[in-house]
Symmetry: C2
Subunit: 397 residues, 2 copies
């Protein structure tokens, strides 16, 4: 008889997996995914970069490497976070990881003992909840308003949970809500982290993909006491398939994360790391990011137009200035999974809100993705969704 | 104040790291490493394979992929284990991982709760000990003789530890000893696993690299009751830098490992997976493996000659039929780290045996690597080592 550890989820608990499987039916227009638009992948440019890598660093790209990552890539990262986010760092502040998902995992491994408290914005990125749950975390959920994490509620939570180990926050175009924290709140988060001596994990996968409004510097840029770990990825601006993420922080912490990475997968793929170094040398990454932002912005605009046109009155939704997701709230709905099933009958899909909540789920909420949705399908998809929502709202009257 | 979890090793406990750092001095001839010979990496052929990947699967290689791995690669693995090891499997038995180190980590996550017992051959692969220790394992060490794991001692251990969760074994050219388990013992291990209902993790990174003797089928080939998880890697036959390993077993277990992989790094690098599929399509992998085996065999022979010539009487060493390592035992030595320091003064290095033991370390033992040692340095290295060992043996007389 196979005896799994307590960490292993029981059978039939992968609700999101079941939803994505249902949404994979080709007759369904699915806003459930979370993929970048593959038509913008710079395939030819990457092929050229990889060819150069084989010519100039072939053996190095195929040999074992350092757990902390290729130095040239770590240098590139410190340069980029200075330019984009105003973060001062040195190469010893940075570790490259196998996708940013691995940062979540290693930070969980490094900080969370069974029963430790982790503060999260409610709702938040569901994979982060899965990871921290697997290390036995107890969640303390902090509510959001239109501007993201409420810092008054955060201070209250820090007072009430003085032993909390970690605050996890997605500061830009949050997954799932699309919300962005304004600069005054970022300063306050950095200040509270120091005051209450809690580690902040700032996750910024989407920050570069801004199509409206003004850039806001990272929380990390206001961290003068080494209380913020900053993480990001090349997945949204270049190639998620390469699994390249990174974490930046106090070398004392980065050293320990490196030891843990060593016994997790030794190091990150060398070819992928060198490929990104060479791609950056041969191409203007910012021009490429602008193209992505322009396309996603156009798709987001079509989403807003379509929702205005087809959604029944009273349905609320966010209007993100960047990123890949927006968040919908249908009033009067009590069972979001039922609503999902109704929509699936109309051949349209989304991710129900429930699994994004560490606390009590807010019924009638769901996440829509637009980054990987062809423009010509957006209107038809929202028409179907509007019909299903109207039926649901009418039933609940 | 940064508060790490209980899993994080204390400062200054990375003995092996310190040893490798000391051995990195270019004036030192180091047998301490564990790298494949980079001069045999098929750089030009891999460049060609990757070019084809970009031409035919460019977007797929850059996009997110399945946690379980690229289907074509999993098919290739099932075909290869049938041909080489006599293992019958289907594609649902296989998950691709970020190097075989990740199999160790995921199996630890999936099976080991704090205090669970894990059976290991003593000595064994030190990274496996690190990983299982990080999940709170208690080790039960099973002694070896010249033919590897002693199955009589294994049965005794299984009787005395009926709740043991796992037996970890490196069946071919074991790291660190270079020993290979004969076929009758393999059958017995499979039988005992079923009888005592314990999961076996059979780790076979080196099995393809045989330069002498007859191939022995995997323990997994004798497993009729789904008690063996079999793991291997493309690191030793192709490119460790690509971080491609895999695990094969009961789909019930593979499914759970896949869920855990999802919250560890989502999936393995797509480009690397497609590159290997394409490399296998364009090249004769067995011819390449034969070249590797021939070179390592030649180097091993030079090691044996040199040890005969320069080592003082009474020093014992293994004579492996394949793989990358051999194991030395110097009689009368009580402190192996002291011995290491003496050798370092003679400008020669190895990995002391202590960290490979889960139980009481056997003093005077150490591991030598020859796969990445240039032929012209072997004699000089062993001459230096022989001098240091002679001094140590004479001191202890």
């Amino acid at each position: 008889m196979v005896q799994f550890s307590k960490r292993v989820p029981a059978d039939g608990t992968d609700a999101v997996g079941a939803i994505l499987a249902a949404a994979a039916d080709p007759s369904v227009i699915s806003f459930a995914g979370g993929l970048p638009a593959p038509e913008l992948f710079p395939v030819a440019e990457m092929k050229k970069a990889v060819d150069t890598v084989f010519d100039e660093h072939g053996r190095e790209a195929m040999q074992y490497g350092a757990s902390r990552g290729v130095t040239e890539l770590r240098e590139l990262i410190t340069k980029r976070v200075k330019e984009r986010e105003g973060i001062d760092s040195k190469v010893e502040n940075v570790m490259v990881t196998t996708g940013s998902e691995q940062v979540l995992d290693l930070v969980g491994k490094a900080f969370i003992d069974e029963g430790d408290e982790v503060l999260v914005e409610d709702p938040t990125y569901l994979c982060a909840l899965d990871v921290y749950r697997s290390y036995g975390a107890k969640f303390v959920s902090v509510p959001q308003d239109d501007q993201g994490l409420r810092v008054d509620a955060l201070e209250e939570a820090l007072k009430n949970h003085p032993k909390a180990k970690l605050l996890y926050t997605v500061s830009n175009f949050q997954n799932p809500t699309g919300k962005t924290m304004p600069v005054d709140r970022r300063k306050k988060v950095a200040e509270l982290a120091a005051k209450y001596d809690v580690m902040v994990l700032e996750d910024n996968p989407y920050g570069d993909i801004r199509f409206e409004g003004e850039h806001v510097p990272a929380i990390k840029a206001f961290d003068t006491t080494d209380h913020v770990l900053y993480m990001s990825t090349f997945s949204k601006i270049l190639a998620p398939g390469f699994r390249l993420g990174w974490v930046l922080g106090d070398p004392k912490v980065i050293d320990k994360l490196t030891v843990l990475k060593q016994s997790t997968d030794l190091h990150t793929d060398q070819l992928a790391q060198w490929a990104v170094v060479e791609f950056f040398a041969q191409n203007d990454i910012n021009k490429h990011v602008d193209q992505i932002s322009a396309l996603y912005g156009k798709r987001k605009d079509l989403m807003i137009e379509g929702m205005k046109k087809y959604f029944p009155e009273g349905v609320k939704y966010t209007n993100p200035e960047g990123g890949m997701f927006l968040w919908v709230k249908v009033p009067g709905v009590t069972d979001t999974v039922e609503l999902f099933k109704k929509c699936l009958k109309e051949k349209v899909a989304f991710v129900p809100g429930d699994p994004f909540f560490a606390g009590k789920p807010e019924p009638g909420t769901f996440r829509l993705n637009y980054s990987n949705m062809q423009e010509d399908k957006i209107e038809e998809g929202l028409k179907r969704l509007g019909k299903a929502l109207s039926d649901a709202v009418n039933e609940n009257k």
